[in-house]
Symmetry: C2
Subunit: 167 residues, 2 copies
C-alpha cells in the first residue's frame, strides 16, 4: 500500500486535516508534514526544561514514537529512520508528546538514558553555545560555551558513524 507521503510506505495513521477549527481546537492528531514529508520536533529535558535538540520526523518516526514511547526521528544526513540511542544507548524515553496549534511542530519531553547526552558532539544539549546579545553592530556576533564539558567522547560512542553536520 502506498500513500502520498514521501519517506513512508505505510498508510498514514493520522487524521486528515479538514478545517482550521478542527486542526486548532480538535482532539484528533492531524499533523502537517512539509514538502519533504517531515515535521520539526523540539526535544526538551523533562526535568530541567532545557532544549536538547531540534530534530525532524517523518510519518513513520512520529507513529513509532507514539506507539513505543521512545523517540524516533528521520535522519536528514543519513536519509533513514533513526531510533535515537540505537547505537549509543542514549535512548530518549518520552514522558510527554505535544503538538502545536496548527499541528506542524512536535514537542517531546524526554529523559535520556546513560550519560544523558543528546548531542553528537558529546554535549548534553546540542545548544551548548549562547550568542552575545545587543553587541556592537560593527562586529559579527560572538558565541560563548554554556556547558563546561562534554558528557561523553563521541568517538567512543558513535564509532565510525559519519558526522551529520553539513556545511
Amino acid at each position: 500500500m502506498e500513500t502520498e507521503r514521501p519517506n513512508s510506505t505505510l498508510p498514514s495513521p493520522f487524521s486528515p486535516r479538514t478545517s482550521v477549527e478542527q486542526v486548532e481546537e480538535g482532539l484528533a492528531l492531524a499533523p502537517k508534514f512539509d514538502a519533504d514529508g517531515l515535521i520539526p520536533c523540539v526535544t526538551t529535558d523533562a526535568k530541567t526544561g532545557d532544549v536538547l535538540m531540534l530534530g525532524y520526523m517523518n510519518s513513520e518516526a512520529l507513529a513509532k514514537t507514539i506507539a513505543t514511547g521512545e523517540a524516533h526521528y528521520w535522519s536528514r544526513s543519513r536519509n533513514c529512520l533513526w531510533r535515537k540511542g540505537a547505537t549509543s544507548g542514549l535512548i530518549q524515553d518520552v514522558e510527554e508528546l505535544r503538538i502545536d496549534d496548527d499541528q506542524d511542530s512536535v514537542w517531546l519531553r524526554v529523559s535520556v538514558a546513560g550519560s544523558g547526552g543528546s548531542c553528537h558532539v558529546g554535549y548534553r544539549s546540542c545548544f551548548y553555545r549562547s550568542v552575545e546579545l545587543r553587541g556592537s553592530s560593527d562586529e559579527p556576533p560572538r558565541l560563548e560555551f554554556t556547558e563546561p564539558q562534554k558528557t561523553f567522547d563521541p568517538k567512543l560512542v558513535d564509532g565510525d558513524a559519519p558526522n551529520p553536520t553539513q556545511l
Copy 2:
C-alpha cells in the same frame, strides 16, 4: 547591495561556514539557512522552560533579534518580517539566545509581556495539547488539552489579522 539569501536585501552579518570543526566548536556565529532562507527557532519560557512556539527566522530576523534583544521572526503565512507582539503588545524579551551544534537551529529563552500569551489561538503556549502515548494501534492517536483556558481573546488582540494556520 544584495546577497544570495532570499528574503533579505542586506549583506549577511554572520560568519561564513568554512569547516565542520569551526561550525561545531568555534566562537563565530555561522548559521545555516535552508533553501527558503530560513532557520527554525524554538522559543521557551525563561522561567518555566515550557516551549511556547516554534517559529522561523530569516537572516534579517535573526540579526534584529540579536541587535535589539526582542524576538523577530519571518512570518511564512504573511511572508514578511514579524516583530512578535508588534500588534498585540505581547513582546518577547530575549534573556538568552543559543545556537545548536551544526548551527541550523536557534533557541530563544524569553519572558513575554502583557498576558504572557505567545499563541495566536489565545493560549500561553502553542503546544496546548498532548498526544496519548502507547495507545491502541487500531485507532488514531487522540489529543488532550493541557492548558485549562486561553490567556486572551485573539479576536480582541489580533483584530482582523488573517489566521496563520494553513491546511
